[in-house]
Each structure stands twice: as structure tokens, then as C-alpha cells.
């Protein structure tokens, strides 16, 4: 398919643009099912490829190895360059070559001379489809290498904890692309089906699933949750080149789950309140018995002398802190006397 494209465009540029558009649609449709596995890239600049946007990445290799990640969203001509400063051994020249995914790239062996104690290796690669993505390594003999990992932009901030929701409730699953990454063409959602991924037919079941796409953010609304909805959901960011996938786990629980700690806490509260009230009741009963005896003893004498007497008398209290039950008992007898008089 590609050689055909190149042949035609040698003659007519307009045809190229039309062909490129329809070719991109074809690419979307077959979702990157491998066509040719050619590793060889064209070394000579071709007009068709010159219409692709160009970009360059270089790295200065100081040590033995280096790795760089490159996000590629749409087809482009990518020039990768490595500069090596040598490894201390005085070398005159070194053989530089490129690897893609560990396999040598055709026609890439070059003998490089050291200029100002550094050598530079540069090559333009045409990135057209998912097959062209991968790990590109520039090798300086066996001494040093630099890796460029070309990939579709990854979906950032993956939520590692599962999203929890309740049976009968609805939930929103969100996938967000980092701000510094390009907008995906569209978003797709999948459900795990065994080991396979099955696309969610949002159009077919509008009461159950609703998708809201807004540039870098996609939201999947799932309504009327059931236990079967628990599991892995995948969101796919579709780019021209390929698709980046991220996953979310949904856990659907019943109301009984939080009820367990809730009931435990309620019981603890009831036990505490009962204990406090019982403790007070027992203290006041003790106090009342003692007070009953003292009041019977203390009533006949003068009224003025009474308050201090009652305050000081209780034999059980040694410190100045009157036990709660004691004063409770005091007040009860006092109010009783108030009522009587």
C-alpha cells in the first residue's frame, strides 16, 4: 500500500492529500491491524513524507545509556539525534547504527569520526502508524546507547483504588488526559469480558450507559448498578496513530457493608450511655442512703448551721472533690425538702 502511495504522489500532490485523508480513515477503521512489518525506513526524502509534520528529538549521551520517552499522537517525520562525548578511551572513530525493538535498521551503519571529542548520529524516521512506534536505540559500537521510546500519549493519573458504589445507585467513571498531552480524537469505553475487552454499546443502552466526552476528559455514567457491574472498565484514547488504554475498577456493594461498623458504633454508644447512667444511679443511691441518715440527724438544729454541716460531714469524701453521686444525692434531698416545705 505504501509503495503505491509513493508512486502516485511523485506525480500529483493534490492526489496525495486526498489519498492521505482516505488512508487515515482506513487506518482508523482497521485499528492498526498490522500491514507490513517493514523495519526499514526510507532514507531518501520523499515528497509524500515531506508533507507530514516534522519534529526532532536529540539527546546528549554522557554515560553508557539513556532513555527518553516520546509521545506521538499523529503521523510525523521524527528526526532522532544522539550526541556522544566518548568514554575516556581515545578513539578515532566508532560505528554508529540504529536498532528498532532490538532489530537493526537497514542501511543505518555509519562510521563516525570524533570531532571535538564527540560524535553525532542522526536519522529521520517516518512515523505513520502503530507499527512505527516502539523502542528506537542509537548505538555507538558496543560502548553506548540511547533509547527513544515512541508511544501513544499515555493517560495520566490512573486511579489505583477501585471506585465504590451501591446497588441501585449510579456512578461516574472518569478518564483524564494530562494537560500537556494532545487531545485525543475520540474516547472509547470497554468492559472486561473474560480476558478480552468488549466495547460498551452506549448507543444501544442509553438508560444504563451515558458517555460525555470533552477533549481531554471522558466520563462514563453507569446507572442502575448491579453486582454484575463490578469489574474492570477500560477507557481508550483514540489518536491518529493508535489507542492508549487505561483501566478503572468498579466495586458495587450493598448497603449492608457500611451498616456493620455503623451498628457496632451505635452499640458502643448505647453501652457507654447505659454504663454512665447506671454508675450515676448507683452513686446517688449510696449517697441517698447516707444523706437520709445525716438529714435525720442534722434537721433539729438551727437552719443557718445546716448548709456547712451537710457540706463537710460526708465521711467518705476525703478530698475537697465531692463525688458526683454525693452532690446528686445532696440536691435530691434538698429539692425533696423544698417540696415538703
Amino acid at each position: 500500500m505504501f509503495p503505491l502511495l509513493r508512486e502516485k504522489t511523485r506525480n500529483n500532490r493534490i492526489t496525495v492529500i486526498v489519498m492521505r485523508a482516505s488512508w487515515m480513515l482506513l487506518l482508523l477503521a482497521c485499528c492498526g491491524n498490522g500491514n507490513t512489518k517493514t523495519v526499514g525506513q526510507s532514507a531518501h526524502p520523499v515528497e509524500s513524507d515531506a508533507l507530514l509534520p516534522a519534529d526532532a528529538r536529540s539527546v546528549v549521551l554522557k554515560g553508557k545509556s539513556h532513555t527518553d520517552k516520546v509521545d506521538v499522537a499523529s503521523p510525523m517525520n521524527l528526526t532522532l539525534g544522539c550526541t556522544w562525548t566518548g568514554n575516556g578511551k581515545k578513539l578515532l572513530n566508532v560505528t554508529g547504527y540504529w536498532l528498532k525493538d532490538g532489530r537493526p535498521v537497514d542501511n543505518s551503519h555509519v562510521t563516525l569520526q570524533f570531532e571535538n571529542q564527540q560524535v553525532q548520529l542522526k536519522r529521520m524516521f517516518v512515523i505513520k502508524n502503530e507499527e512505527n512506534l516502539g523502542r528506537y536505540s542509537c548505538m555507538f559500537g558496543n560502548e553506548a546507547k540511547a533509547d527513544f521510546i515512541l508511544a501513544v500519549p499515555h493517560i495520566g493519573d490512573v486511579r489505583d483504588k477501585p471506585v465504590v458504589s451501591y446497588v441501585g445507585d449510579s456512578v461516574v467513571l472518569v478518564c483524564k488526559m494530562d494537560d500537556n498531552k494532545p487531545n485525543p480524537k475520540t474516547w472509547l469505553w470497554f468492559r472486561a469480558n473474560g480476558t478480552d475487552k468488549e466495547e460498551i454499546a452506549t448507543v444501544a443502552e442509553p438508560q444504563k450507559y451515558q458517555v460525555q466526552n470533552a477533549g481531554k476528559v471522558t466520563k462514563l455514567h453507569v446507572h442502575n448498578l448491579t453486582q454484575d457491574d463490578s469489574g474492570l472498565f477500560y477507557c481508550g484514547a483514540m489518536f491518529t496513530i493508535g489507542m492508549a488504554v487505561s483501566h478503572l475498577e468498579l466495586k458495587v456493594i450493598t448497603i449492608y457493608e457500611p451498616l456493620k461498623p455503623f451498628v457496632a458504633i451505635i452499640l458502643e454508644v448505647l453501652v457507654l450511655v447505659a454504663a454512665i447512667l447506671l454508675f450515676e444511679r448507683s452513686q446517688s443511691k449510696k449517697g441517698q442512703v447516707q444523706e437520709g441518715e445525716e438529714v435525720a440527724k442534722a434537721e433539729p438544729p438551727a437552719t443557718n448551721a445546716e448548709p456547712p454541716a451537710i457540706n463537710v460531714e460526708p465521711p467518705t469524701s476525703t478530698s475537697s472533690a465531692t463525688p458526683p453521686g454525693e452532690s446528686q444525692g445532696l440536691e435530691e434531698t434538698l429539692s425533696a425538702r423544698q417540696r415538703k416545705s
Binding site: 451501591y166 448497603i255 457500611p258 455503623f262 451505635i266 457507654l272 472533690a321 458526683p324 415538703k340 416545705s341
Partner: protein, 458 residues
């Protein structure tokens, strides 16, 4: 009649004479727990807001109104809590408040729209919190005389500690049970306020019946006067109380601003998220130390409480104003240092702000006075943070908003200086305060006459 007098003076003597110790410390523990469940809980609700924004698809501002409603309701219903405690039993009021706070969250777990959350998490729980906080603080204050500030400082340190504990706990609850289940569990947790309230000794205040006997006029006038006395409305006509309330209101305008805006200001000054969060945490830790240390120091009695309060308030204002200045040079250490100092001073003034109330209002009217102060200062809280946000939006950075907040605190100090007898060495004499009554209790002869006089003036 003979029996009524001893019981009345016994009541007053009971409250005034309550020793600094024993059951008082149990009440401090109860206040510790309930304060953490009121304010610590409020501070930890931030975890839920992210979930609410996603679930209800509302703006962050609409969601933040939930917390504002809760706080405003707590402060608005404080006089109600005070009045009910004056009229009925403090223990029942606090237990009812605890139940309401719990019920509010339990109902919130079933919310289907934002309005439900405003009504349940905001209004119902706020009402519960209002019925809990003021009566409990007044009860603890009544249980201590010499170690009052320290006891309060110790109890209020729970707010800072709780927010450290609650944030990871709430995060765990939300991750395990989603926000609905987490709110349900929080409702259960809030019900723990009920045992705290049960620890308050059941005590019938004689104020109500005494008043009823004193003015036996028409039912309507009598009820209004009774309600006014429960709410301690006559306080609003007294200059010391009004001056003090205005000072506290100014204080509240500026006090919360750093807690709300410090993170954003740190991020604006090009510090990372973790660095900004650390600054606020550091201020929080210093806050805890400030509360306890200032409480201990104030109780030593070296200085008048009002002088100490003015000192800490002025310092807090100064450090708030220094906060944007310290970031001018981009120094992270400077920002952390000023934040620590701010946190310490802000904590130091908190318990003092409460313990000065009996000095300006008299020990018997503390309950109602606290309620009124809370109500009036609520307006400041609602005003302060949006104002500083507005200043930030208008001027572009936080310099103006921090400066204005700090200046409000300085203004508060100046207002406090206009209190009567501010520059005298000792606190002014107040008729029939608890301290006065206690001092005179030593001679049993004058006891009866004093109680009678107090009864007559009530």
C-alpha cells in the same frame, strides 16, 4: 422559705465552689471528645467535597456552602443551646444535640441532590452542634476557677489532633464505603457526643422558677422576659460585653483567613503541593502547642487574662501580615517559621477568648453570654474569608488579603483596649460573680445575705 434560701445558696455555692479537679477533669475529657467530633469533623469534610463535586456535578463553590452552612448553623443556634440549658437541663440539651448531629449525617447518606445535603449536613447537624458546643464549654468553665484556661486549652487541642486523625480515617472510609457509607459511619461517630453529654451532672437551674415567681405579670410579657433572661439579652446593653463582642468579631474576620488561603498562597509562591500542605500542617501542630501552653501560662496568674488575650491577638495579627512578606524573598524556611509562629499565637488566643467571657459578663451569665458571642461572631466568619478571596481576585495575589486580615486583628486588640478598667492591674469588681461568692462563703453569716441580694437582683 427557710428551706428555699439554703437550697438557692447551695445551688450558687455548688457552682462557685466546684473544685478544680475530680469530676471537672472528666468533663474536660468529655469536652475534648465532643469538640473533636464537632470542629474536628467539620475540618475533615474536605475529603468528601471531591466526591460530591464528581457525584452531583456541581461547582466547588456550591459544595463548599455545605460546610459554611454547618458552621453558620452551629454559631447561629448557640444562643438557643444556651437558653435551653438555662431553662432546662444542660445534660439533656447536649444529648439531644448529639442525637441531632448524628441524625443529620445519617440522613445525608441518603441524599439525592445538593439541597438534601444543605438541609441535613448543614442545618440539622449544625443545629445539633450548636446545642452541644456552647453548653459544654460553659459547663467546663463553671467547673474550674483557677485552672480554667488550661482546662479549655487542653480540651480545644482536640481540634488540631482530630484533624490529623480524621483526614486519613475519612479518606479510608470514603475509599471503602463510598461517600454514602462514610457519611453513615460518621453519623454513628457523631452519636458519641451523647455519652459525653451524659457525663454532665444533671442539675436543675433555679433561675427559671425564681424568675417566674418574681414577675407574675401577664403570661406573654412574662414569657418574653423569661426567654430574654435565658438568652441573657440584657447583656447586649452592657458596654463591657458589647465592646468585647465587637473585638471578638473583628478577630474572627481575620483569624480563619490563613487556614483557608495559606495553601493557595504557598502554591502561588511557587512551592510544591507537598510543601504547601506541610506549611499548613506545621501551623496546625504549633496551634495545638499554643493552646495548651497558653492555657497553662495564663493560669499562673501573672497577668490579667484580658492583657494576655490582647497580646496574643496582636502577635497573631502581626504574623498574618508577615506571611506574604516572608514569601517575597522566596524563602521556604521563612514561610514555615512565620507559619509556626502564627499557628502558636492563633492557638494561644483561642482558649483565652472564652475565659475572658466570665470576666466581662459575670460567671452566672456565662452560658448565655457564650451563645451571644458565638452568634455575633458568626457574621465575621461569613464575611472574612470571602472578603479576602475578593481582595485576592482584585489585586492578583494574597498580599492585600493577608494585610487586611492582620489589620483586623490589630483592630481587635485596640477595641479590647477600650474595655473599662483595661489599664488597671486587677480585674474589675463584678457584682455577684462566682469568685466573689466563693470568697464570701468563708463566713457563713454573710452567705445568706449575699444570696438574698443576688436573688433580688436577678
Amino acid at each position: 422559705m427557710a428551706a428555699v434560701r439554703p437550697s438557692a445558696e447551695r445551688q450558687r455555692g455548688d457552682e462557685a465552689e466546684d473544685p478544680d479537679g475530680g469530676w471537672g477533669w472528666v468533663l474536660v475529657a468529655a469536652l475534648f471528645v465532643s469538640t473533636s467530633l464537632v470542629f474536628g469533623l467539620m475540618r475533615g469534610l474536605g475529603v468528601f467535597f471531591v466526591e460530591f463535586v464528581q457525584y452531583f456535578e456541581e461547582s466547588a463553590q456550591a459544595i463548599s456552602w455545605i460546610s459554611s452552612t454547618g458552621l453558620a448553623a452551629q454559631q447561629f443556634f448557640s444562643p438557643l443551646g444556651a437558653a435551653l440549658s438555662n431553662a432546662y437541663d444542660t445534660r439533656l440539651v447536649v444529648m439531644a444535640g448529639g442525637c441531632l448531629a448524628g441524625v443529620g449525617f445519617i440522613l445525608a447518606s441518603q441524599a439525592t441532590c445538593l439541597l438534601h445535603l444543605y438541609l441535613t449536613m448543614g442545618l440539622i447537624s449544625g443545629l445539633g452542634w450548636g446545642l452541644v458546643f456552647t453548653p459544654m464549654v460553659a459547663t467546663v468553665m463553671a467547673s474550674f476557677t483557677r485552672r480554667r484556661t488550661f482546662a479549655l486549652g487542653l480540651a480545644f487541642s482536640s481540634i488540631g489532633l482530630a484533624s490529623f486523625m480524621f483526614n486519613p480515617l475519612f479518606q479510608f472510609l470514603v475509599e471503602t464505603y463510598a461517600w454514602r457509607g462514610a457519611l453513615l459511619v460518621l453519623g454513628g461517630l457523631s452519636l458519641n457526643i451523647v455519652p459525653c453529654g451524659a457525663l454532665i451532672r444533671s442539675r436543675r437551674r433555679t433561675k427559671g422558677p425564681a424568675k417566674e415567681e418574681a414577675q407574675g405579670t401577664s403570661a406573654c410579657g412574662g414569657t418574653l422576659r423569661r426567654v430574654a433572661s435565658y438568652l441573657e439579652l440584657p447583656l447586649l446593653c452592657e458596654r463591657p460585653f458589647v465592646t468585647y463582642t465587637i473585638a471578638i468579631t473583628f478577630l474572627n474576620v481575620g483569624y480563619f483567613v490563613p487556614y483557608v488561603h495559606l495553601v493557595a498562597h504557598s502554591r502561588d509562591s511557587d512551592f510544591s503541593e507537598y510543601q504547601a500542605a506541610f506549611v499548613v500542617s506545621a501551623a496546625g501542630v504549633a496551634d495545638i502547642f499554643g493552646r495548651v501552653a497558653s492555657g497553662w501560662f495564663s493560669d499562673l496568674g501573672r497577668f490579667r487574662l484580658i492583657h494576655l488575650l490582647s497580646f496574643w491577638t496582636a502577635l497573631t495579627g502581626l504574623f498574618i501580615m508577615l506571611l506574604p512578606v516572608s514569601t517575597l524573598w522566596g524563602s521556604y524556611v521563612g514561610l514555615v517559621a512565620v507559619s509556626l509562629l502564627y499557628g502558636f499565637c492563633a492557638g494561644a488566643l483561642t482558649s483565652l477568648a472564652f475565659t475572658v467571657v466570665p470576666i466581662v459578663a459575670g460567671a452566672e451569665r456565662v452560658m448565655g453570654a457564650l451563645g451571644l458571642v458565638q452568634l455575633i461572631e458568626s457574621s465575621a466568619g461569613l464575611l472574612g474569608t470571602p472578603l479576602s478571596g475578593l481582595l485576592r481576585d482584585v489585586t492578583g495575589d494574597y498580599m492585600a488579603s493577608f494585610m487586611v486580615s492582620g489589620s483586623f486583628l490589630i483592630l481587635s486588640t485596640l477595641t479590647m483596649a477600650t474595655l473599662p478598667h483595661y489599664f488597671s492591674r486587677t480585674d474589675p469588681e463584678f457584682p455577684a460573680t462566682a469568685e466573689n461568692a466563693e470568697a464570701q462563703r468563708l463566713s457563713s453569716e454573710t452567705d445568706g445575705t449575699n444570696a438574698l441580694a443576688a436573688d433580688a437582683t436577678d
